[in-house]
């Protein structure tokens, strides 16, 4: 069912109104975001596609409080964040949002479990509680036995799974993933997709920026951007297609 039609509609996790982002001045001015109206409902997995430079990464940064928009409103779980102080934004990023990046951004000198527990420690949890939570999350991403490995001893897919575990550390309202499979081969991509899909099944709200149609296809909804604007929206409802047989060369 379309969540927007429900009378008991939940507060969106993310919402923007007239969102705009400009870089540069005068003739060199670039509209990275141009009037974005967006809502992401709780438990929804939203994919964002579009050509390089269309503004999709900027959108993710603004939604996660990494950048402040030039104009418009950004709401996270009913709270307006575009006017927050730098300190309040940092707090929001630590507590409400989990980031996953193409290049993993793990700390090279820390083990997998130390990387995963870092956000919990920064949020002020005790070292015991942070370690227990980190061990639990590594288990969840299937890397319990790699807990004491340094990132350099892990494959690309394993590093990204550690990064996803880290993103989940403080039970974020939303996980924002920017090209999460951009550095991965197709086997590792499938592993990461399975993991993201299991998070989605467990009710985690996800926003995934991607170039890869295979990644986008696992979302509930796909929006496409061009030149800073939303130009298309597709709902990828589950189990719609009975036509798989057609696609492998079987005939009716």
């Amino acid at each position: 069912m379309n969540a927007n039609e429900s009378p008991l509609r939940a507060e969106p996790v993310l919402r923007t109104r007239g969102l705009a982002m400009d870089y540069g001045q005068g003739a060199g001015r670039v509209h990275a975001l141009d009037g974005i109206e967006l809502e992401v409902t709780p438990g929804e997995a939203l994919a964002v596609m579009g050509p390089s430079g269309c503004g999709k990464s900027t959108l993710l940064h603004v939604l996660g409080g990494l950048e402040r928009p030039s104009a418009g409103e950004v709401w996270v779980a009913g709270r307006r964040i575009d006017g927050l102080s730098e300190k309040a934004l940092a707090r929001l990023r630590r507590r409400a949002v989990g980031f996953v990046f193409q290049a993993f951004h793990l700390m090279d000198e820390l083990t997998a479990v130390e990387n995963v527990e870092l956000p919990a420690l920064l949020a002020g949890r005790s070292s015991g509680a942070a370690r227990r939570r980190a061990a639990e999350l590594l288990e969840r991403v299937g890397l319990a036995e790699r807990a004491s490995h340094l990132p350099s001893a892990l494959s690309g897919g394993q590093r990204q799974r550690v990064a996803i575990a880290r993103a989940l550390s403080n039970e974020p309202l939303v996980v924002l993933a920017d090209e999460p499979t951009g550095n991965l081969d197709s086997v590792a991509t499938l592993d990461v997709l399975r993991l993201l899909d299991s998070l989605r099944s467990a009710g985690q709200t996800l926003l995934i920026v991607t170039h890869d149609e295979r990644v986008a296809a696992t979302a509930d909804r796909l929006i496409t951007m061009r030149d800073g604007a939303l130009v298309d929206e597709t709902r990828l409802t589950r189990g719609t297609s009975g036509s798989l047989g057609d696609l492998v060369g079987l005939e009716r």
């Binding site: 986008a216 597709t234 297609s241």
Partner: protein, 194 residues
């Protein structure tokens, strides 16, 4: 869209999917060892995974009868203690030659971009519709198919044989979607100039 020189397609819409090259497939499966019909069907199901659900139940048995008439397989009845006798099929020399010819054949089912391309050209020329809208419609349809295929692929365990097949489906759809992007780029930029 019928590829050159492969198999016989039997049109029975209500009875699920047919394997286009079912004769060759069954002969090839029999090359390993003589088998019952149900063993062949089980091996097909394993290889096709979730795609086998749509497969026509009777096709294997109907085809085996045809292959026997054509002299490509022989059968003998084997008694079973607590059940009716079962037919075991075996490849003949003629059948083995047919399998080899199939394995050596490099013809390949072709995608058909010319058809869609000409649809866009015609729509634009006759003002029958906005080519960009047609591209969007097609993109939505393919995305739905990709979503179904990708989810089926995610549901397969590691090293699944059906997973390899689904990967082929997924990659092909991805290629089609990327081509549609190229179409959208072209028609978006030329639209204003006509």
């Amino acid at each position: 869209m019928v590829p050159d020189g492969v198999g016989v397609a039997v049109k029975e819409p209500s009875q699920g999917y047919q394997l286009r090259v079912v004769q060759e497939v069954l002969l090839a499966l029999l090359a390993a060892e003589a088998s019952h019909g149900y063993q062949l069907r089980a091996r097909l199901e394993l290889a096709l995974g979730p795609l086998a659900e749509a497969l026509n139940e009777g096709q294997v048995y109907v085809t085996l009868t045809r292959l026997e008439k054509a002299g490509l397989v022989t059968s003998r009845r084997v008694g079973q203690a607590d059940r009716p006798n079962r037919k075991v099929y075996e490849l003949t020399a003629l059948g083995r030659a047919r399998v080899q010819a199939w394995l050596d054949d490099t013809s390949w089912p072709k995608p058909a971009p010319a058809e869609f391309h000409l649809k866009l050209v015609a729509a634009a020329a006759a003002d029958l519709g906005d080519p960009v809208r047609l591209v969007d419609m097609q993109r939505h349809a393919l995305l739905g198919e990709l979503a179904a295929a990708q989810r089926a692929a995610l549901a397969e365990p590691d090293h699944s044989i059906a997973g390899v097949l689904l990967e082929g489906v997924v990659l092909r759809l991805q290629a089609d979607l990327r081509w549609l992007e190229a179409c959208a780029r072209y028609w978006n930029t030329t639209k204003g100039r006509r």
